[in-house]
Subunit: 241 residues, 4 copies
Amino acid sequence: MAELRAAVLEANLLLPRYGLVTLTWGNVSGIDRAAGVMVIKPSGVPYERLRADDLVAVALDGTVVEGRLRPSSDTDTHLQLYRNFPDIGGVVHTHSTHATAFAQAGREIPVLGTTHADLAPLAVPVARALSEAEVADRYEESTGTILVEAVGDQGPARVPAVLAPGHGPFAWGADPRAAVEVAATLEEVARMALLTYQLAPGTGPLPAHVRDKHFSRKHGPGATYGQGGGPHDPVAGSGGG
Amino acid sequence: MAELRAAVLEANLLLPRYGLVTLTWGNVSGIDRAAGVMVIKPSGVPYERLRADDLVAVALDGTVVEGRLRPSSDTDTHLQLYRNFPDIGGVVHTHSTHATAFAQAGREIPVLGTTHADLAPLAVPVARALSEAEVADRYEESTGTILVEAVGDQGPARVPAVLAPGHGPFAWGADPRAAVEVAATLEEVARMALLTYQLAPGTGPLPAHVRDKHFSRKHGPGATYGQGGGPHDPVAGSGGG
Amino acid sequence: MAELRAAVLEANLLLPRYGLVTLTWGNVSGIDRAAGVMVIKPSGVPYERLRADDLVAVALDGTVVEGRLRPSSDTDTHLQLYRNFPDIGGVVHTHSTHATAFAQAGREIPVLGTTHADLAPLAVPVARALSEAEVADRYEESTGTILVEAVGDQGPARVPAVLAPGHGPFAWGADPRAAVEVAATLEEVARMALLTYQLAPGTGPLPAHVRDKHFSRKHGPGATYGQGGGPHDPVAGSGGG
Amino acid sequence: MAELRAAVLEANLLLPRYGLVTLTWGNVSGIDRAAGVMVIKPSGVPYERLRADDLVAVALDGTVVEGRLRPSSDTDTHLQLYRNFPDIGGVVHTHSTHATAFAQAGREIPVLGTTHADLAPLAVPVARALSEAEVADRYEESTGTILVEAVGDQGPARVPAVLAPGHGPFAWGADPRAAVEVAATLEEVARMALLTYQLAPGTGPLPAHVRDKHFSRKHGPGATYGQGGGPHDPVAGSGGG
């Protein structure tokens, strides 16, 4: 548990370092699957003051298990993702600038280049809109539900991030750091996609054979990227290297 | 008074840290309502050299009460805001890049996403143009007047910032730091709005039920964001957390 | 002369600090009018290694007076500006991103807001193209000539910067630091103008009465900005404060 | 060899310093022509943890000569460039934002200004697409092949960088640092070109006489830029100075 707290703390501190947050707008969680307990950032605490024992431990049913502070207001969204994706170990939510612009525009991010294909073989989708009833009752949990729906049969390994419409990105990975690396990759992929559309509005997706080559270089049993050593290797992110 | 000076100094130093200023183009003030005295940045002094005793104390009628330096050239605008909004405790003016671009374009910033809705439930308006007479006589005070007019009946809690046309943003809050957090949020919201329009020029506002849910999570008696502990908690800014 | 060297060194070091240069693409000079000697950055030396005795002293006729290194390749452009504008004390050339984009597009930067009006009451002009003969013979001096032509009768105080077409900005001021502050203001004004056009392509100039009010607040005998104390006060830059 | 390792390490560390990489997406190599051995970054290792003895030495035929880590996944692309361009001493690959946007858009970067002309007298080309067979078999080597084809008869001194379509930029120079300076210049030139097109979509290339003047000031026997002292002098980059 101390190890998980340390990993979640470190991953939260990567958010300002990677330029993914303004003020306190972002949160990372991690999970101890054996214990069925998630550790998450407390609500509204600045990153520079955040300490491991400020983090809040919450059971999968939402009960606070440990912690003197209120958990992130997005806690129920994180829990819904952990309940539905048993293989993920970390979740992150940010309002990173370019990914949020796509979310506000209601546009998915297609695979326009190998940077994206190194991360995922599919477009990053926009979830459906929430109904008035879903917003009125269990808003945060419902947000998790529409993210899960957007992932669908493809599964969270092939769809490692989804845009909540009018809101912003949620991302996940094998552990908290891997989730943050997905979020950092997503933001850069979104920025490049926006610039690509400015240069050539009708740009189509990368040819399938290049896309699949890049995804398979970094993910799955035949991966040749990195040093073959664990959850961060191959790096869950993207790009050449 | 020493406490107010410290708070105003700290808030001014946040301006370069949050990337809201070039050179010396920005100023923050705070007010001691009991004493009827505002403390504000002196004119043209670089942030890295600014010290608490450089700040200038000015009575609500404009009389300099304490200080060896000239107060900010925008002093009379700040005073006009304090006179008309008795509940605010801090005011900030910047030329932050994207908010200023909206001011120069004469376009309000609509509520395109939850980042904005976490800050305010309404578009950030553009004040009306000043007449030649208003510019010739009491220009700075008149600037305050058109900001107050743009806030109108909605009040400064629901309209925490206004764009002076062709000029730039003014923002306010419960205290100097809260005002700067509004200014930082506004700049990021403006940047995201501009990028959203590049992706989808006709983007409409966020559905009202999502907008109101987010605003009420962070503001007012039912707020669930933050640790419930004071003027900065819930954070006056915006975004998830 | 040691004082001038120190001022020119400090002003060159502001270029990377203000984000105005990539690699070694920028140079600042200053002049000792009594001695008729200009001090300028040597060619191709990185800012982090630059020392006061690396700077090169050049007489107004182009003769190197002191220094073991080659002066900037733009030396003859600086000299031409000093010869034609007897009241300026510092010159700077950069390839700052947004000002250079306007130069490459061949578009002047109109006065779209008060940030610009605080700097200058007129559009920042684009100089005319150089003829083949002017490029073949005395290219750098000819570049100075077209800048002087673009300033014309308005004079260098009202036109503190000009864009060399397809090239980038040159700026000047009372001393080297003031020139760099003009260059920093120009880059930010160019960035804001580009973003303003993205939001509202047909944006017209600021009304003349607002423009003149802002220019006169910061420049000339009736200036009310700053602490009234010297060449950097009022700050030669721009913006509120 | 220790000297080459030091040079390659230093050049890799310039990538994050110049803002050319996200996470681990970029790699630099250098070559010892006498030994026929290339030294390159290992795959997936973060720059802040990279040490000289982490670098991998690879013979020109692809055999790993020295090193305990896997070389960059782009190793065969680097080797193909060294085999075909006997005069280059350093190669760099990044996914830098704006150059990658041009690669994704499939658009070459024309010579729109002197910043570009200081680097190269020609547009930075986009290589042709790879066939399915080339992607399936020896993908990385084939990527090198299409880069070499895009350089063609002009040679690598006049075409110091090429965009791999849908992928990103590759650049080269006399040594590893010179290659990184080309990559940094290319990214800034790409950014300026994109902004220029936003201001004036139909902007044509710089007049040939200005373009050739700038290229010849910095490259070749008549170069007048820099201090005339070695491979970094004149600086292989671009821009005034």
